[in-house]
Each structure stands twice: as C-alpha cells, then as structure tokens.
Symmetry: C2
Subunit: 352 residues, 2 copies
C-alpha cells in the first residue's frame, strides 16, 4: 500500500460541488491501484477571506507544501470583487503558484467527440483537435519588477531569465516526445527583445531534442491559427501572458470549456484544477459539471502518482458517461439526459 | 477643385499589385467628388532596402509627412527575413507609425454576407458580425523603455502615460457614438498595474461620453468572447500588444482576412493599409485580392477626406462585384467566377 496525501482546496462557488465529486472518484479509484489516499481539505479564496481575512493563509500554504498533490476547485465571486487588488482571489492564486514554484501550466485542448457540435467552430475544423498548451506560470510580466502606477502612468516589466525559459522548454519537449513530437513556441520576437531571448533559449534546448520538430510562431498569428486550423498543433509552449490568452482560446474552440482540466507543475509540488471558474450564478444548485475536475484528477494520477492506467480509467468513465447521453446543463444538447452534479458523479462511479 | 496629395508605398510582394489597383480606383472616384488627387509613389520596405540599404529612408518619411494621406501595400518577404531585427521590415513599420504619430489603429471586423461561409466559425455565429477594434499603436510594450537582452535574460517594459490612454479612449468613444454606442475596453487589470491605470483613465474619459456604454473585459476572456459570440461587440479599445492579438483573431473569424482594411490615425497624419501581408508565394502572379486595399481607400475617403459618400460608393462596388460572383483565389468558393487582380479591378471600375 502506497500512502498519498492530497490537499483539496474546494474554494468558492461551484468549487465545493466539483471537488466533492472528485473526492468520491479518487476514493473509488485509489484501492484499485493499491493506494491509500488521505484527502485533507483547506480553505482558499473567498471562503478563507471570510473566515480569516486572508485568501491564502500560512496554514493552507504549509498544508499544500506538505502534500503530494493539491486539488483546487475554483476561487472568487461577486462578494470579493471590490476588494483592493492585492486582497483579491487572483492575487492569492498568483501567490500560491509562486510559493509552490508551479512554473509549468499544462492545459490540454481536446475535443470530446460527443461534444464536437458544441463549439462555435465548424465541426470539420475542430473534430479530432488534440493539443496541449504548456504555459510558463511563475515568470514574465505577471511577476516582473519594476511595476506600479502613479497619477501620470502605469508600468510593468516582461522579463525572462535563462533558467526559466530552459525548464519550461524542457517540459514542452519532454511532453512532445510522448505525443506528436512537434513543439510550437509562441512569442513576439519581431518586436520584443524578451521574445528574442526566449526564442534563442528554446532553440538551444531543442538541440537535446532533435527527434522533436520545433516551430516558432508570432502570438498574433498563433491566435489566428488556433481558430483557423487547430489540428496543426501538438504541443504549444509559451510565456505567462501569451499562454493566458492562447490557452483560453484553445479551450474555447473545443466547445468543451466546462470539460477541460489543467495541471500546474513545479520541481517539488503539483496542483490540479479545472480551467472553468467558480460560476457563482449556478453555485450550490447541484448543476455544476464535475467532468473538468475529474479530468484534472485523471491528470493527477498520470503525472504525480505516475499511474497512467488510473488516468485512463477515469477518462474512459467520462467518455462512457457522455456516450450514454448524460449531460450537465452547460453541455446539454437535444435528446440528451440532463443530469445534476451528483447524478453525473453517480454515473461516473458506476462506470469505473 | 480640392487638391489632395497621396503618397503610395506599394512595398513588397503583392503590395505592388494591390496598390496599382487602388490607384485606378482612386483616379476613377476622385473627379466624381470634385477632387484633384496626385499620387506620389515611394519606396518602403524590402524594395527600399535593396535600393538604399534602408527600409525607410529620410526621403520617404519626409514625403509621408508632406502628404494628406499615405496608402501602404505590404512589406517583407523571405529575402529580408534574416536581417538583424533593427533592419527588418517590422522595425521600419514601427518607426513609420511612431514618426507619423499614428496612435490609433482602426480595424473593422465585418463579415461580408457573400463570404459568411468562408469562416472557420459556424455561419450563425458570425453572420452579421460588425465591430471595430481600436488599437493603441505608438505606446505600450512595443515602445517602452528599458528594453533589451543579454546572456542571462531578456526584458521589455509595458508602460502607458495618461495622455496616451486618454486620446485613444476618446477615439473609441467618438467612433462608438457614430455606431452602436458601446465600447469594450480590454485589459489585464486583475494582474497588471499598467492595466489598472489604463482602466482608470478610460473610465475618467467615459464621463464625457455618458451616452456610450462602457464595459471592461480581461484580455483572456475577450479572446474567447470574440470566438464565442462576436456579435456582442461594437467598438473594442485596447493597448498595442493586446490589440495586435485581438484584432488578428477578429479579422480571422470574419473569414474575410484578405478583405479587411485598416486605418492608422494620428493628430497630423493618416495611413491606410490592408491588414493582409505581402504574400510572397503569389506575388507578381496577378492573383492577389485587391479588395482589402480598396476598402482601405474607402476608409481614406471617409476619414481623411471627409467624404463618406465616396467611401460608400467604393463599398457598394465591392459588394456588387462579390454578389456577381467574382472571387480571387483566396476567397473562391464553388460556383464563383475566379478572377485575377486586374479582372477584379475591372469589375470594380465598371461598378463605380
Ligand atoms: C485569474 C487570473 C489571475 C489567471 C491568470 O491570468 O493566470 C487566470 O486567467 C488563469 O488563466 O488561470
Ligand atoms: C509586423 C508587426 C510588427 C505588426 C505589429 O505587431 O504591430 C503586425 O503584426 C501588425 O499588427 O501590424
């Protein structure tokens, strides 16, 4: 029996409901792989602010650092929108990423066949799309100094150091090796020196991965290409800000935004979360789609626990449930069986 | 008789052919509105580099400053791709924008009914889309100091001063007044101080435009929204880098990228150009689509020459030609009449 400690941070809004679903799935899957998993829940986000006046307490942070993996639901909501910027959920999220050294954000953009009609893109354009965005998550303009504003101006600094580009490039090449062996590095090297630097380092790292094809693409063109022909991509690697934009477009075009997982990885810690937000409008109504969180759990089994078979089991249960016609409200279509969060979870558990 | 001086910069690749088409159209339209237009051609881009070792000479710059409007084709091509960054066409373009003070880049994202099938988005999502992106063009991270790179890192500075945000916001609000009275300002204020500053100034300027509705949107969400439901937008205003990305997605989703014009406006000068590039693969083959350049000419008549009727005349000729089924290769579809650049131009001239 291998013992694993997971910290869960349900957070706000539907975060509670989707993480509750995930906990049931983890508990069902663990014994099949001879795992003893303990799940310790902590406050993070608005709920933490309400209890302690802080979105991310030292105690929660310490618990995360003491866990094998962190599972996050979602944070934020109208209640905390008017706090000063440094008190907001976003600031806590950035602090958590930085403190845990989660420099690699991995976001699959995969079209589920059962949902290929749900995209605003034509079916023939998106069907079969399956790529991954590897976004640098603890550097760039999100964290660069100097930064600030006064009466007359505002400023931020986009900066990358060599080791930051090197390690994210390696993540991308390693991932590409396990997939289609193609990396597209996105930058704005025709204008920005930080991008010229980025491009140079990515190409240096590429020397160790000659079995992988590397292309460069300008960010403006890349944003268009994701919409024009998403099937051309295998692994995209890019900086924090560009990755924020590109990974959101990539998620959107799949038509499965409520379905997409993410992993944020560092050298020591790992955090898994659905890419959707806290959806305050449907929170507490048993309407939330738990599948993105379950897919995040699948990624956790694959990556942190090194059990790809467990990941596959969960993915199969998801596809099975979809192909039986079960849908939460966000992905409903004609003729489907409308399911609540708990019904959806039941189906998955049955499938497992 | 009003005398107007236009400087044309055909540039490289298909720039030559589309500007030649535009010159014919200008010469046909001018007399109808009692204009005497002189068009003076100058070198810019790769062709200028080949002749003078510089992409933008002092002489060309002086000519632009002496004109009522500048008409640009496109610049660049494989021949000049390996020059150092500061010698490349991109650098010349940025210098031209800066020297002429062209701080407002106006890019309509309009779906031509005849081409509504050409988008990778579903027809019902894009049909009727008609918004304009107002991109700040002479500030932000494109021009911010300090900037550079060394062995260990690369850096750029995203900075906005108050007057820069004020004047671009005014452009957007003024434009919205003539359209749907709605402005969406795009930023990343949940992370960047420069965006918090931007947002604050835009809201201050908004006080003078209470008849216009103002919304803020984060750039990652905006990129998704343009793909999800483009019809929600009327006027988008945003910074240089975000505008680069957002305006390209906006153009792409219309399915009419080869059809879209742009205007770059300052307090003293104005430049008009198609948003497509120099397309070296089809250059010199009489295959280029001149319509984006002709639409840019229409914008020139509307804006700089204050002759909206002349602009409308050109737009009508474009729609007329499309509805007769004429198409260049880039927008061809089943049952259309495949036309060369010169044939397309002939049709437009007949229509006028
Ligand atoms: C909430 C925000 C700070 C965050 C980001 O920009 O990184 C979000 O957009 C994301 O992509 O996770
Ligand atoms: C060529 C490049 C410098 C330019 C830009 O980034 O502004 C282009 O992408 C554009 O949008 O006109």
């Amino acid at each position: 029996m291998r013992s694993i400690k997971i910290v869960s941070l349900p957070g706000d809004g539907i975060g509670q409901e989707v993480v509750a679903s995930a906990v049931q799935v983890i508990e069902k899957v663990a014994p099949k792989f001879d795992l003893e998993i303990s799940i310790e829940e902590h406050l993070f986000g608005g709920c933490s602010y309400d209890a302690h006046g802080e979105m991310l307490t030292e105690e929660t942070l310490a618990a995360c650092k003491n866990a094998d993996a962190v599972l996050l639901g979602a944070v934020g909501g109208p209640k905390w929108e008017n706090l000063p910027h440094n008190k907001k959920p976003e600031a806590a999220l950035l602090k958590l990423r930085k403190e845990l050294g989660l420099y690699a954000n991995i976001r699959p953009a995969k079209v589920f066949d059962a949902l290929a009609d749900a995209s605003s893109l034509k079916k023939d354009i998106i069907q079969g799309t399956d790529f991954v965005v590897v976004r640098e998550l603890t550097g760039g303009i999100y964290f660069g100094q100097p930064r600030g504003y006064d009466e007359e101006k505002g400023w931020n600094t986009m900066v990358y150091e060599k080791y930051e580009v090197e390690r994210i490039a390696r993540q991308a090449f390693e991932l590409a090796r396990k997939r289609g062996k193609k990396v597209t590095s996105i930058d704005k090297a025709n204008v920005l020196e930080v991008s010229q630097f980025w491009r140079q380092i990515v190409h240096e790292v590429h020397k160790d991965y000659q079995d992988v094809v590397l292309n460069d693409m300008y960010v403006d063109n890349a944003a268009m290409q994701v919409v024009r022909n998403p099937k051309q991509f295998d692994v995209i690697v890019t900086s924090n800000l560009f990755g924020d934009i590109i990974s959101d477009i990539s998620g959107m075009i799949t038509g499965s935004l409520g379905m997409l997982p993410s992993a944020s990885l560092g050298d020591k810690y790992a955090l898994y979360e659905p890419i959707h937000g806290s959806a305050p409008d449907i929170a507490g109504q048993n309407k939330a789609n738990p599948l993105a969180t379950l897919a995040s759990v699948a990624m956790m089994f694959e990556n942190t626990l090194d059990l790809p078979e467990a990941g596959k089991l969960i993915y199969s249960a998801i596809e099975d449930t979809l192909s039986k016609g079960y849908r939460t409200g966000d992905i409903k279509s004609e003729g489907c069986k409308l399911a609540s969060t708990t019904e959806m979870t039941e189906q998955i558990l049955t499938s497992l």
